[in-house]
């Protein structure tokens, strides 16, 4: 007997299409319904009907672990979460005055920031299309505010361009666009592209180059009031008798090319870097705290997992309490394991060789961030820079200006470094005091008169030396994906992994959450069919 099954919700409909026609059909249907391509999130999973008494042990109270706990508890499971640290949130964290930063060798930094100031050493910006995260922030009462991603008035610095003097992004970007437009117009007018274009398109493209590149009547990019209306003036427009503006002087093509400004322009085109972006009010850890309000009662903090076993009846994690020294174990029917791989690969775990190999195959990047507290907002007061980033090719990578409390008096915290690659290794290898000195020396190129004068204190977070993770974000290659990704995600007996490492969205909170949702849905299905 085949009763027709009617979908009750959009999610049901998509699931039915997916079952019948495969992932591609579902994707096409989602596009028609108007919500694909942004994220794979199509609403919370709405799980229900867990078997009576069924239980899940979740390892790790980061975002993935806490979301898994939340959705599984809603489905009717008895959930316990074990967390190594003395706080929830994992990489979702903020450092404030009074906090200590401890590294693997026991080095301690005491943060002395003024009340209300903070450093977000891990995640710090949320794209508008990360709908899973935005959904749960709203559901859990986490207030978001704009993150100023793009600031035309911030600087671009490249050691070998403009004699090492930083230039405003606005000026370089306008000059790059103008020079490229002029060259394109020249090529078009010389007939060089006649075999590539219809006559009509050629005419349109010439108009586009003239308007977009702000070219003059000779189709040349030259200094003018019109160009200055994009790149800024020498004397800006004013009022009264001396109101007439004077133009600024454009940079030559060679200088503009030496600045590599196209890398910043290209950066802002990245899907995950496009405006609008958000940050939680009061610090990134407000997200983790919002999740913890929902699942806090299920979480045991300060609990270091030392071994993981399973058999055909259940899973067991053996642990040690980091505060009391108490040793114990927790058992459940199933396990969601979100421990980051650099640590998980050192914990004995009873799983098959394919998963073991996958866990060992993914190294982590070791980014480093620094927060520098300054006595006043000189970037606002003296430079008209409100949020956004000034980029440099030095090890610190950039400095980024705070997105909140504009125009306020009193100390404020700059992001003094966001280093990756070789720059992160160099800075991480230094003592905390040496790192701050390097950040002051490098960041001072942007604000030479103020940077050291207004400096109060600094704190650095070197992810490679964070004792609870030994790295920041998972690093996959095409080869390791092909060999290990499906094995890493597959349920091994009663255990499934989740977290940013089990996604194609590495290093983003959205990835952690999508991974958790995928893991709980698969585990729930298996638990019901077992």
């Amino acid at each position: 007997m085949n009763e027709p099954v009617m979908p009750q919700t959009r999610r049901d409909l998509l699931r039915m299409i997916g079952t019948a026609g495969g992932g591609m059909a579902m994707y096409q249907a989602m596009t028609v319904l108007g919500h694909a391509a942004e994220t794979q999130f199509s609403g919370p999973p709405m799980l229900s009907g867990a078997r009576k008494g069924a239980s899940v042990l979740v390892l790790g109270a980061g975002l993935a672990g806490m979301l898994a706990a939340y959705e599984l508890a809603k489905a009717g499971y008895k959930v316990t979460v074990l967390e190594y640290q003395d706080r929830p949130g994992g990489r979702n964290m903020s450092i404030r005055g009074g906090d200590k930063v401890v590294e693997v060798d026991g080095t301690v930094q005491d943060c002395t920031f003024a009340p209300g100031n903070y450093l977000n050493p891990g995640p710090w910006r949320i794209p508008h299309h990360h709908r899973t995260l935005l959904h749960y922030c709203k559901a859990f009462g986490v207030e978001l505010e704009p993150f100023i991603q793009m600031n035309h008035n911030a600087f671009v610095h490249r050691s070998k361009a403009f004699g090492g003097k930083p230039q405003r992004y606005r000026e370089l970007a306008v000059d790059f666009k103008g020079h490229v437009s002029e060259l394109m117009a020249k090529a078009l007018n010389a007939g060089s592209l006649d075999d590539k274009l219809t006559g009509e398109d050629k005419e349109k493209l010439l108009v586009a180059m003239r308007e977009w590149g702000v070219l003059d009547q000779n189709m040349a990019f030259t200094s003018s009031i019109k160009v200055s209306s994009q790149r800024g003036y020498d004397t800006p427009p004013g009022g009264g008798v001396r109101g007439e503006p004077t133009p600024s002087k454009i940079n030559g093509l060679s200088d503009v090319l030496a600045s590599n400004v196209w890398t910043q322009m290209g950066f802002f085109f990245n899907y995950v870097m496009q405006t609008t972006m958000f940050q939680p009010k009061g610090g990134m850890d407000m997200v983790g705290k919002g999740f913890f309000r929902q699942v806090g009662k299920m979480v045991r903090l300060n609990t270091k997992v030392t071994a993981i076993t399973q058999d055909d009846r259940g899973v067991t994690a053996t642990w040690e309490d980091m505060k009391t020294g108490q040793k114990g174990s927790s058992s459940a029917d199933w396990m969601i394991n979100t421990i980051p791989l650099p640590v998980l690969n050192q914990i004995p775990m009873q799983v098959g060789p394919a998963l073991q190999a996958a866990i060992k195959a993914v190294p982590y990047n070791g980014q480093l961030k620094m927060g520098l507290e300054m006595k006043r907002r000189f970037w606002e007061e003296d430079y008209s820079i409100y949020g956004g980033h000034s980029f440099t090719d030095q090890a610190i990578g950039l400095i980024s200006y705070p997105n909140n409390n504009f125009f306020k008096d009193g100390p404020a915290v700059l992001l003094g470094a966001f280093a990756n690659g070789a720059g992160a290794f160099q800075l991480t290898g230094m003592t905390p005091a040496q790192r701050i000195e390097a950040a002051l020396a490098q960041g001072a190129v942007f604000h030479p008169a103020e940077y050291r004068k207004e400096f109060l204190s600094g704190v650095s977070f070197a992810w490679s030396r964070a004792p609870w993770i030994l790295g920041c974000t998972s690093r996959w290659t095409d080869e390791s994906r092909a060999a290990h990704y499906q094995n890493l995600c597959a349920i091994d007996g009663r255990i499934v992994l989740a977290g940013e490492h089990a996604t194609y969205y590495g290093g983003w909170m959205e990835g952690s959450l999508l991974s958790a949702l995928d893991a709980v849905e698969r585990l729930h299905k298996k638990a019901l069919s077992a």
Partner: protein, 146 residues
């Protein structure tokens, strides 16, 4: 010959761009690669890169279950290819360094680590690195308690 060199340089350039684009899938500072330069001298390579994790005294750090292995007094380094394999391929949480260090820098720093923090005085050469790279042996299993 000249043309060949140009082609390989071009291919190299594309590889760098591809690596940058791949990194951008994750959060990143933005803009192009940094101008950070790394020394060719073994001790300086160690200080600029390796000691970020293995620490200035090469004794590693962390605790049981979350350990960064010591390089000082590490008997596994007696095999001079051991460190080379790990630098080329990474192991566990440690990434490969083939995109950060040249073969010359790898040879210099491995020679330094084996000779200065241990007592293995035979140098690791560029030819050694190239030989191991070609042979591509499996990554030795992690024994992080050592």
């Amino acid at each position: 010959m000249k043309r060949m060199a140009r082609i390989s340089a071009l291919v190299g350039g594309i590889a760098v761009l591809a690596a940058t684009a791949a990194l951008r899938a994750q959060d990143a500072p933005g803009g192009g690669p940094t101008a950070v330069s790394i020394s060719d001298e073994g001790r300086e390579v160690y200080e600029q890169i390796c000691q970020a994790c293995h620490m200035a005294d090469a004794k590693g750090g962390g605790g049981a279950g979350a350990m960064i292995p010591a390089l000082a007094g590490n008997p596994r380094l007696a095999d001079k290819d051991y460190g080379t394999i790990i630098l080329l391929k990474g192991r566990g949480g440690m990434p490969w360094f083939s995109d950060i260090l040249t073969t010359e820098q790898m040879a210099a720093v491995l020679t330094y680590v084996r000779g200065h923090f241990n007592d293995y005085k035979d140098p690791v050469t560029v030819a050694d690195i190239e030989r191991v790279n070609l042979a591509s042996p499996p990554v030795p299993d992690c024994n992080c308690t050592q």
